[in-house]
């Protein structure tokens, strides 16, 4: 199949090899390390369910990075938007007899509006989207903590977290997927995530908007000469990213804990970058790369117990090394191609 990206797969394998050799520095056996890393997710139904929960949030955050990336924008704002939207979902969910429609609509709306801040700065002030997004990440994290701790703190808990959402929207407790996986964090949001990937594929490849986004990403000034409004593209791609960030918040609050727990996101927004790069931006590929990264993330969380000298922080190292080795592999792939071209020519 010509669609399979060999550079990404090569980068993944090389990255994992580098990571397992690196554990030698910490007196750990690479074989044992790989066993823990790869063997953790199928230990029990619950472990699988937890991994599939990671898959769900990673698909969403991967899409939130990859769509703006197609238009040449670096969306580093997902992390802050995840926290903001999760807070909104938890807060709106507190009111008695609230229904799903209200919670979901409001959360998605806040996701979109929060992304407009970045879009407006980019479109009207030509500020670098990375800087604005980084500032907003700090602000949204502070805002979410402030609202939850000061107004919605769970009175029955010592932990910093909100009270549970109203019983009318606790339906995901009976979610067939959740029940099958022994009450694990996974929920039917996994299906929505997969459907979203397919929809994004259709958007990117079969619609006018998709073509416009790609054209703008390839060459913004040429696209503008062809009548594509740069402001429209910026707002469009970042709004979509906002929707997917909001879905991460919904997955956590409605599908998993039913509350806002401070610090729930293990930098899911940044994991999305790894996912999107590994898939080379392909929306269907994102489903697979999410699974790979979810398995590694799940495995790394067992390193605390299963190894003497490593901690779950090694998950970050693995992500970093994979990003770097995929980057290098893409370069080698293109230079090898050029080499063969020269041979032929």
């Amino acid at each position: 199949m010509k669609n399979i990206n060999f550079a990404a797969i090569l980068g993944l394998i090389v990255g994992l090899m580098i990571c397992s050799v690196m554990v030698l520095f910490f007196n750990e056996s690479p074989i044992h390390f790989l066993k823990v890393l790869g063997g953790s997710f199928y230990q029990s139904k619950f472990d699988m369910g937890l991994t599939l929960y990671y898959v769900t949030v990673l698909i969403f955050s991967g899409l939130a990075f990859s769509i703006p990336f197609k238009a040449g924008l670096f969306n580093l704002g997902t992390e802050g938007q995840i926290l903001l939207t999760a807070m909104i979902a938890a807060v709106v969910g507190q009111s008695i007899n609230v229904n799903y429609f209200t919670v979901v609509t409001l959360t998605l709306l806040i996701g979109v509006i929060s992304s407009w801040i970045v879009a407006a700065f980019k479109a009207y002030r030509n500020s670098h989207e990375v800087v604005v997004a980084i500032m907003l990440n700090f602000i949204f994290a502070a805002l979410a903590s402030y609202v939850v701790l000061n107004f919605y703190q769970n009175p029955q808990s010592q932990n910093p977290e909100s009270a549970l959402v109203s019983e009318s929207i606790q339906g995901f407790l009976k979610d067939p997927l959740k029940v099958y996986f022994d009450g694990a964090p996974v929920s039917s949001f996994l299906m929505i995530a997969v459907i979203c990937s397919l929809l994004v594929w259709i958007l990117e490849n079969k619609t006018k908007w998709g073509l416009e986004i790609k054209a703008y990403g390839e060459n913004p000034s040429a696209a503008e000469r062809a009548g594509i409004s740069s402001r429209k593209i910026i707002f469009l791609v970042l709004s979509l990213a906002g929707v997917f960030s909001a879905f991460v918040g919904l997955t956590e609050v409605l599908g998993n804990t039913l509350q806002y727990k401070i610090g729930f996101s293990a930098a899911y927004g940044f994991l999305g970058i790894v996912v999107a790069l590994l898939a080379q931006g392909h929306p269907i590929g994102i489903i697979f790369s999410s699974f790979v990264i979810a398995v590694l993330h799940k495995g790394a969380s067992d390193l605390d117990l299963e190894t003497m000298h490593l901690t779950r922080d090694y998950s970050k190292v693995i992500q970093a090394v994979i990003i770097l080795s995929v980057g290098a592999a893409v370069y080698f792939e293109s230079s090898v191609k050029q080499f063969f071209k020269k041979l032929k020519g």
């Binding site: 670096f74 002030r125 604005v132 602000i139 940044f270 090694y314 970093a320 990003i323 770097l324 290098a328």
Partner: protein, 285 residues
């Protein structure tokens, strides 16, 4: 009043160095979002080496060496293997944030902090050296940026690298030197953070200062002197924040609001500020 000024100066030291570091890389047309990584590397290395060698000087030296080594990875990927600078910068931040807790677990059996240093910070010399060092390094950066041939080469690398090639200067080499210099400066900032502002390394102690430094550079329109002013201004808001928290006010200002002040102010200024032509042209290798 004097308290606030002194604490402003104190707090601005690491960020001044990080902003100068960020300036050099950014000015050559390479986006630099891994200042955080160099700050953390410098802070952890300085605290660890000082703890074992009982000498802060060695802490600084090894911090610079390690910071420069980490930056070589950045240069290799961005300049040689043509990877995207923001992607590599993100990866570098993740890498450093992941490696440090594991190393500290193995050396100190802690969850990320180093033991407290037994440095005598009371002497007048110990109080003054970070200021002297920072002033010297800022002077050096200013000289390199504005008065040296290399400074001019850096500006051309960011504006129009064809000019450099036509006079026989390799823009990639200019960028590599700038990235390396950035890392060295920022690592010193990190070292000051853990050995002077605190007396040990604690997890994530840079607390976004690398991003603040980057914001300051961009905010200042990629001009070094102005970037320093912005940093001092940020430090002033931070000093005020600490001061306000120490007051027993009758009304309560939320902590989170005060802590997000620098970020809110950044955005507010960006509202009134349209990116001008002094921005380097960011290159895609």
């Amino acid at each position: 009043m004097i308290d606030i000024i002194l604490s402003t100066l104190r707090l601005s030291l690491p960020v001044l160095l990080a902003a100068s570091g960020g300036y050099f890389t950014e000015k050559t047309g390479i986006a630099q979002i891994s200042l955080e990584a160099y700050l953390l590397t410098g802070a952890f290395t300085a605290a660890t080496v000082s703890y074992f060698s009982h000498s802060v000087v060695w802490g600084y030296v090894i911090a610079i060496v390690l910071g420069v080594l980490v930056s070589q990875l950045f240069s290799l990927l961005v300049l040689k293997l043509k990877a995207n600078a923001i992607v590599v910068g993100t990866a570098l931040n993740l890498l450093v944030m992941g490696v440090i807790p594991i190393i500290s677990k193995n050396i100190f059996d802690s969850t990320g902090s180093t033991p407290s240093l037994n440095i005598d910070n009371a002497g007048i010399m110990a109080q003054i050296y970070p200021y002297v060092l920072t002033a010297a390094l800022l002077g050096l950066s200013y000289f390199l940026a504005e008065r040296s041939r290399w400074g001019l080469e850096i500006k051309f690398a960011g504006q129009n690298s064809d000019v450099l090639q036509s006079v026989g200067v390799n823009p990639t080499k200019v960028r590599w030197m700038a990235i390396t210099f950035s890392a060295a400066m920022t690592s010193v900032g990190g070292a000051i953070l853990s050995t002077y502002l605190a007396s040990s390394y604690s997890p994530m102690m840079s607390a976004g200062r690398g991003f603040i430094a980057l914001a300051a550079v961009i905010f200042a329109g990629w001009r070094l002197g102005r970037a320093w002013l912005v940093v001092v201004f940020f430090a002033l808001t931070e000093a005020l924040q600490i001061y306000i928290q120490s007051l027993q006010l009758s009304f309560k200002i939320p902590n989170e609001l005060i802590q997000s002040m620098p970020y809110l102010i950044t955005l507010l200024v960006l509202v009134f500020y349209k990116n001008k032509s002094s921005a380097p042209r960011f290159v895609e290798y």
